[in-house]
Symmetry: C2
Subunit: 337 residues, 2 copies
């Protein structure tokens, strides 16, 4: 192959908002796979809040990306050249890779995506790679909702939140979602079946939440932290659960961010606040994918993917996640399969 | 009975520190028990951080004490006059009562303390009524320590913390305690067998904790919240547990208190933060009392009770809890039994 590779490298750790100089987009030669490795071409790149966490040199659930190293991402690719018998040329793989057209895979970094059946690869990748299982395990295994419970979801029109709310409805819960535009609120309420949608930018959140949750909150699925967490803590019922999926409201902060002012409610109401990452449930992925596939086939779960073409747009598109400008799962499409 | 009753009533809700005008000590007539009730005389009054919570009009795990009502407390008494067959005259009872020489009991408010065997009633009341079971269930059932785990305890020379640390040692853990004087640090290390004691008033807590926990923290038993919680969060290991027993550092605050600045670690390390109150485990008390009795008989658990005579000293003595001036469990002794 004489073609060049294009690759995003981390050049600066972001302080506050993501700036254009944190990553550089460069041309390099295409790598060669060694024994047990394979070369794959990028089809789709998932953009997720955790990308920003990986850029920062803070304690986190994986090592931060090293300065000047290729940017890490959740990727879907097609194997081009293989030195591993289980990953033949043409196989579609998904997992942890880098923001580059061509990259080396190993069985430790990516898995075969198998036959996605009637589901297009891009939809399978968009929903099953990260966000669907995150919603599934976070809500069901950490949140433990029971029929009739009130479940509140923040970032409810986001990729994870929108699925959380729909699973909670399937489980017979009353579901209240918070989102940042009237369009998003309309979508989760009218199209996804949430009982109440609250526009957290225009409404008085504590008041609106209290009105929406006359019997208190049993499960608050926390994607954002900050003021919405504080408002929910005030309404939590006895032995309520708070699966902590992410704290996106504070990822771009430049000063130390205080925790919730109503932290005391953890004792008063005997709450369980539990952080999780979907990787914790890696070996139970098939359970989540089977359930999600069935619900999607039955029309009980609708997902929305915002597809942006061209790898060169990755950095600008990532910024949308932190301003709430995206709707649904953000995917960079390099080449359809 | 022509004698008068002496009773503490809540006259003002405390703002910040407890002031002398929040309670008044008054003389009243002795109440008469109705059918199904009994009259008992106070022997011992337990002073606990939760007394302050009960005085405040905030969301909490029981209704706040009403203004002008008798102050609520954990009490031990002797039945004087009974209209209930299970509580004969002379029975020793313990449970939730009020700060008064004479008071009415019901089976809903107090239970018979039974035969305490070789253990003096004051010791049984001091250790078994609240603090021992709190330490037992909070550490073992919420904290779930495993042999070899590092367990950190704040307020470690306090009534609950000192028992938590000793149970953790019995379970084969490395135990680090934080206390506020060198005398207290000496006691928990030399007498109780903690591996490390940190004086949080004189030492750099984050640095001392990091040195004391070279393999991180698996269980942080939180009695205090605030800066010590923040320092512990920074050192928590993957899937660490934080049983949240109390947040005494903030009970006298007059402004909203921010939660921990390192709240983000809950996601990063997939921590479980869980609040509890000993009442949640009420029906399992016998398990805790049996274990604690045996450990005390074997010399594996030492408890320290600070006994202050006379009911009129209750308010001044309660203040000690919030300045760290007490050592061990604080008890007001009205009449020995």
């Amino acid at each position: 192959m004489s073609e060049m590779n294009r690759i995003w490298r981390l050049r600066k750790r972001p302080v506050g908002d993501i700036t254009d100089d944190v990553l550089s987009f460069e041309e390099e030669s295409i790598p060669e796979p060694s024994d047990g490795e394979f070369l794959f071409r990028l089809n789709y790149l998932s953009l997720d809040p955790t990308n920003l966490i990986w850029m920062r040199d803070i304690d986190q659930y994986m090592p931060p990306v090293e300065l000047n190293a290729p940017m890490r991402g959740v990727v879907c690719g097609t194997v081009l050249k293989s030195h591993h018998p289980d990953y033949p040329e043409g196989a579609i793989v998904g997992g942890i890779g880098v923001w580059a057209d061509y990259q080396i895979g190993t069985p430790q970094s990516v898995n075969s995506m198998g036959d996605t059946g009637p589901i297009p690869v891009v939809d399978a990748f968009s929903t099953f790679a990260v966000v669907g299982p995150t919603a599934y395990f976070g809500l069901l295994h950490i949140g433990e909702p029971k029929e009739g419970d009130t479940v509140v979801v923040s970032a409810a029109a986001g990729a994870v939140g929108s699925i959380v709310g729909q699973i909670a409805k399937i489980k017979g819960c009353r579901v209240v979602g918070l989102a940042g535009t009237n369009e998003k609120c309309g979508w989760i309420k009218d199209d996804l079946g949430f009982d109440v949608a609250i526009n957290y930018r225009t409404e008085d959140v504590p008041k609106a939440l209290a009105a929406a949750c006359p019997h208190g909150i049993d499960v608050y699925f926390d994607n954002v932290g900050g003021k919405i967490l504080d408002a929910c803590l005030n309404l939590m019922n006895f032995k309520g659960r708070i699966p902590t999926c992410g704290l996106i409201s504070q990822y771009t902060a430049t000063e130390p961010v205080p925790g919730p002012f109503n932290y005391e409610m953890i004792v008063m109401q005997r709450l369980r606040v539990q952080g999780f990452i979907v990787l914790d449930f890696a070996e139970r992925y098939p359970e989540a994918i089977a359930a999600l596939s069935q619900w999607m086939a039955e029309g009980k779960i609708t997902v929305r993917t915002e597809i942006v073409d061209h790898l060169e747009n990755a950095l600008q598109t990532l910024k949308k996640l932190f301003t709430g400008a995206n709707t649904g799962k953000l995917i960079i499409r390099v080449k359809d399969v």
